[in-house]
């Protein structure tokens, strides 16, 4: 290769913040023509944001753009829309499929770029009345499939295809674009079987040989080593390593991915408060889109804080959502010796289970109601608290005074920043909204609590307070807590044990004192 020629892609000092929250800092790397670059990092390390910047996604522009330069073949570019990126020769295969279910592979590959035949009517009514040239479509799609090197049936309808073939259809669609120079693959092997993944890796190599550069994002580190020329490791919005793939190994990459400066002193380990099992989950499956749970068996001990960690999309969120009846589930869940019927949220709540959802605006809060209502509503609905009874319980009135008192108590205790207890929940910041979610759950005084992603999208100060409140609630009221989080570090801070979910089931349970390398290895162990 000619070294003086400008590399295909060069990223210089890319920085990006979301409303003051710095997510990318000084990203620098270059990618040569026909090279394969593996991009790895934990969730939230900034990989997706970086790719969104490169691809000109709307969300970047809407949140104030980015700083730094992207050079494509030596020329500075700044894409305003994905269409501009496409025109410049960048193709992207997203994690979610973007295919028309009732169309054949051929139709999808050439969607809106179909070869057409001119007809008389199109002179009058415009070129949308050109008829499609089916033969040319078949040939063009066939070429793209061949270029990919994996055989799929072009005349097969997408909805009849196995998942792997859908993925290949997406890749073929990008390959069918003549101008394609750089292909971004965002976790393409996540949905593939081992055999299919192998075929995909082969096709990545053959694309590279044809001069197409590939950015390959995956959690399967072995694949990176097998197929990439270069590995870029990101952590907390920075590039921490940029090495040739042949000079490294899985252990090293894992270490770079999770290896923060470990501060053991901040945490206090304790013996499990009790060996008694309070909840036992047997053979649980949950059909939560993007977070499928397969065959989870897990015992929760009385009074402990159990952390559930794992990479995004591996099913950790599905566990509480399935047990609490928000998504369809099957299996057996027993709580304090009694079986909890699945798919019936009310029965879970009646059994004194509570759930702080990760979807705080959608599931957690009544956004247009006052804080008082938000705090008191579940307790009022489920446990008849904060009600004054008249005529022997025939008529129930809200006890406004008690509601106000309890809300004020939690506002003080959790340091919720608001103008008054009558402010609307919508007007609070994310961190304070999360505290309201906790307050309303605490007001129900549950015996068992699921907390899902309690610190997602909130600032450091609020994070510490939320974690502290959970810990206190556990210690003082003896409530068993199961906390689901993508951040290993915070799980290690407050949990007694940590279960790691990988590929939809439990990959292992370790004490919180385990090293982050150990946990990290479990996280990628069964990634499917």
């Amino acid at each position: 290769m000619d070294d003086r020629k400008a590399p295909l892609l060069e990223m210089k000092n890319i920085r990006k913040d979301f409303f003051g929250n710095q997510v990318l800092e000084d990203i620098n790397f270059t990618l040569g023509e026909g090279k394969v670059l593996g991009l790895v990092g934990e969730n939230g390390a900034g990989k997706s944001t970086l790719m969104k910047i490169l691809f000109g996604m709307d969300v970047i522009r809407e949140t104030g753009g980015y700083s730094g330069d992207i050079l494509l073949s030596g020329e500075k570019v700044s894409f305003q829309t994905p269409f501009e990126a496409l025109a410049a020769g960048i193709g992207m295969v997203h994690q979610e499929f973007s295919l028309i279910p009732g169309f054949t592979a051929t139709e999808n590959i050439l969607l809106n770029r179909e070869p057409k035949k001119h007809s008389v009517l199109s002179d009058v009514f415009g070129d949308r009345l050109d008829t499609l040239n089916r033969d040319a479509m078949k040939k063009k799609a066939g070429d793209a499939i061949e270029k990919m090197g994996v055989m799929i049936d072009g005349s097969m309808v997408i909805s009849d295809m196995p998942v792997g073939h859908k993925q290949f259809t997406e890749i073929a669609r990008e390959l069918s674009k003549d101008q394609l120079k750089l292909l971004i693959l965002d976790e393409p092997t996540a949905v593939l079987t081992e055999h299919e993944a192998g075929a995909l890796l082969d096709s990545i190599r053959s694309m590279a040989e044809r001069g197409i550069s590939v950015i390959f994002i995956t959690h399967r580190l072995q694949e990176i080593l097998n197929v990439c020329d270069q590995v870029v490791v990101m952590r907390d919005g920075r590039v921490v390593q940029d090495v040739a793939a042949r000079d490294t190994n899985v252990q090293e990459i894992t270490h770079w991915m999770v290896g923060r400066d470990v501060q053991l002193s901040a945490r206090t380990f304790r013996e499990l408060p009790s060996q008694e099992t309070v909840m036992s989950i047997e053979r649980l499956w949950v059909d939560m889109p993007g977070e499928t749970v397969r065959d989870v068996t897990l015992d929760v001990k009385k009074g402990e804080i159990l952390g559930i960690g794992g990479l995004a999309g591996q099913g950790k969120l599905g566990i509480p959502n399935g047990i609490m009846g928000l998504y369809e589930a099957g299996g057996r869940v027993t709580f304090e010796g009694k079986e909890i019927p699945l798919n019936q949220p009310r029965r879970c709540l009646d059994a004194s289970l509570a759930f702080v959802s990760e979807d705080r605006r959608g599931v957690g809060l009544l956004l247009d109601e006052s804080l008082e209502w938000n705090v008191a509503f579940p307790a009022m609905q489920i446990q008849n608290k904060f009600l004054k009874k008249y005529l022997g319980g025939l008529i129930k009135w809200r006890d406004e005074k008690a509601i106000e008192e309890v809300t004020k108590k939690y506002i003080d205790e959790l340091q919720i920043r608001c103008t008054s207890s009558r402010q609307k929940a919508r007007e609070l910041s994310g961190g304070n909204q999360q505290k309201i979610c906790l307050a309303k759950t605490f007001a129900m005084e549950p015996r068992f609590l699921f907390v899902s992603e309690p610190t997602r999208g909130i600032d450091v100060g609020a994070k510490a307070l939320v974690l502290d409140a959970l810990k206190r609630f556990n210690r003082e009221s003896g409530v068993t807590i199961v906390m689901i989080s993508s951040e290993l570090e915070e799980l290690r801070q407050i949990c007694d044990r940590i279960a790691i979910v990988s590929g939809g089931s439990i990959a292992g349970i370790l004490p919180a004192s385990a090293s982050s390398e150990q946990l990290g290895e479990l996280m990628v162990s069964q990634v499917k």
Partner: protein, 370 residues
């Protein structure tokens, strides 16, 4: 073997509505006592009368806009054109053709309006278009009752209300009655076949088949199945949806003119009011669903739905002694069929959603055995 049985069950479930109607007809025909010639005559007349109108429903369904009452707007445009043409005393085939041409601007304008509104109510097109049709009915009445006469010149007193403005309840189209049907008509053993009308319908079918092969047709199918994916691929989703509604209203306008020339008179204030309902019901009887309809569904639907209307009153009268039962049945069945189709559509969607969960459970069980 097992697989074949399964597909038979699927077939029955998928076509339960047409099968039900075939059974009802099979039950009623012998009781009604009509001769086969009479029935065939009636069916062919009604096929010619209604098929074009129902065909106008296909394109919005293809674009994912569901069973669309937007066609009622086209029907009103067709009626306004017919009133004008009959006032100008242009009769016969020229009258029909002129009415079709005049209806186009009205249909297009109403279609644009309807399409714009439906773009704001994605996923609720059916009920929204139903309410729009009531709203536009009010505008139509304003035009026909008050503006025709003082603002839009109406010369002939035979169609004007005695008070000097507004249009009478019925406008006679006697001079263009069945002019399309009678031209080139042939009789085969007592059954009159309106060849020209059938040719027009056949051409329309060919046009729809051709349209599906065009770029626009392909875009509409893509938009109909997944708007977001289509948008990501650079297809103008909103524009495509509006075009599909405009095509539908224009075709419905033509369809209404064909329908009324067959009937021979125009009920100014009520012809259009139920036409959408009956067309949609007929299409559903033919085995269509909210998101899928074919030309075959149109013809099967017209035949079964109208066969039932012909035989049911007479069969009902023979059984109960009350001839009103037929009209009651007609309305009852229309609403009933639409309700059933909507419920079936929802259950199908829910079943598809649940199947993933079932799959998980099954995989797990298999894993247990292994």
């Amino acid at each position: 073997m097992n697989k074949k049985k399964f597909s038979l069950g699927e077939f029955l479930r998928g076509n339960s509505v047409p099968i039900m109607f075939i059974l009802i007809c099979a039950f009623c025909i012998p009781i009604s006592g009509f001769s086969p010639t009479y029935l065939l005559n009636e069916i062919i007349t009604r096929l010619g009368r209604n098929a074009f109108l129902i065909l106008s429903l296909l394109i919005p369904i293809m674009a994912g806009m569901g069973l669309n009452f937007g066609m009622t707007l086209g029907a009103m445009a067709g009626e306004i054109a017919l009133i004008l043409v009959s006032d100008w005393q242009i009769w016969g085939i020229p009258g029909v053709v002129l009415a079709m041409i005049i209806s186009i601007p009205f249909s297009v304008a109403l279609g644009l309006l309807c399409g714009k509104i439906l773009n704001m109510a994605k996923g609720r097109e059916m009920v929204t278009s139903y309410i729009i049709s009531y709203f536009i009915n009010g505008v139509y009445q304003l035009v026909v009752l008050y503006m025709m006469g003082p603002i839009i010149p109406i010369a002939h007193s035979s169609i004007k209300l005695p008070r000097g403005y507004g249009i009478r309840n019925t406008v006679s189209l006697l001079n263009m009655r069945q002019c399309l049907d009678d031209l080139l008509a042939i009789r085969v053993s007592g059954v009159k076949i309106p060849v020209l009308t059938l040719i027009i319908i056949a051409l329309m079918c060919l046009a729809i088949v051709w349209f599906r092969k065009t770029k626009l047709g392909q875009d509409m199918r893509a938009v109909g199945q997944d708007m977001d994916v289509a948008r990501d691929a650079g297809i103008q989703v909103e524009r495509t949806r509006i075009i599909s509604i405009v095509i539908s209203t224009v075709l419905a306008g033509f369809g209404m003119i064909i329908y009324l020339q067959n009937m021979g008179n125009l009920s100014t204030y009520s012809s259009h009011s139920q036409i959408g309902m009956f067309c949609i019901a007929a299409l559903l009887v033919g085995g269509a669903s909210v998101d899928k309809a074919s030309i075959g569904n149109v013809f099967l639907g017209v035949i079964l739905f109208h066969l039932m209307f012909i035989v049911a009153p007479s069969a009902g009268a023979k059984i109960t002694g009350d001839s009103m039962i037929g009209e009651y049945f007609r309305v009852f069945v229309s609403y009933g069929v639409i309700t059933v189709a909507l419920v079936m559509y929802e259950t199908k969607k829910r079943r598809a959603k649940q199947s993933l969960g079932r799959q998980l459970e099954e995989d797990q069980r298999k894993g247990e055995k292994a």
